[in-house]
Symmetry: C2
Subunit: 205 residues, 2 copies
Amino acid sequence: MEFSSKLLERAVNEMSQLPGIGKRTALRLVLHMLRQPKEQTTMLSEALQAMRNEVKFCKSCHNISDHNLCEICASPNRNESIICVVEDIKDVMAIENTSSFKGLYHVLGGKISPMDGIGPHDLNIESLVNKVKEGSVKELIFALSSTMEGDTTNFYIFKQIQEYKIFTSTIARGISVGDELEYADEITLGRSIVNRIPFENSLKL
Amino acid sequence: MEFSSKLLERAVNEMSQLPGIGKRTALRLVLHMLRQPKEQTTMLSEALQAMRNEVKFCKSCHNISDHNLCEICASPNRNESIICVVEDIKDVMAIENTSSFKGLYHVLGGKISPMDGIGPHDLNIESLVNKVKEGSVKELIFALSSTMEGDTTNFYIFKQIQEYKIFTSTIARGISVGDELEYADEITLGRSIVNRIPFENSLKL
């Protein structure tokens, strides 16, 4: 792609560094900015820089936060004895949106994935084990993706904390609410039968 | 969507102002930036601001440029007597990539579209008519989209310059190179028969 302006070329090149944004999309976005008031681009630039330079990570759960301790960890209304282990902050937001969980979180920052060169020491596992060691945690809920990497990470953490005899659970795998049985994959359907729950329990939800 | 950080929320909100980027995509992009070195975000922000604040539009053809006159208009190797009328700068780039055109361009900045509230006076039509009036232009090639709006714009310009008796042409509509006839739409196929060219001419390309 040949550009008639170096400034345009530089903006498109920088934009296309972002994942899922190719040169053509970047050009479309940049030309859109040119049609908008200058202030909008200024506000976008400043917001991105402020976010990148000033955002903090909660020292307890590693969630993104404006303070040293995030709002969830600092809240007196949350149950500190239950910790939900998640991959990244998008998962925290997803679970928070359900309003079904009143404990704390622990953001690992990824999954163990030898293929991508991510080992246990690249993740926030040590601080999780330390929390368990301190003794105030009663339950750990593994809420990682149901993939090979997620299962490996669950198992690695389980091994590390096994000796402390706390209750560990994993989120239920089963048929999505509203889904038709005939379109469900066999493994999920099989698991949903093996892990069936008393009918009365399902009425409470 | 609830965010654990105001800085993150602001960045996501600004990002999602861009066309085709929703809140979820914006969050994915912003979280990607957080995983990359700070310099990358700084470079992106600076490139966008520099582009928005410093980019110029060629005073002759309205193409984006770093100077008052764009490289194409300033080049001594281009034929000044043929002007290709296009909708926006993406079309200039597309035609330049074909290396099939050695004349100059004129970027209208859109099409006449009453539905979107875009009239002739919102486009760079007056400066085009003035160029024709000056007398150095011999041919005008209409290279707008083959839509109702494109055809309306072509016709509006044609009416304005009719009295100056210059040659006007429109790019050929026909079957794409490599396409099978059976999948072509009827209008395009019909036009390609009506506007057939001598077989010998097609051998020269």
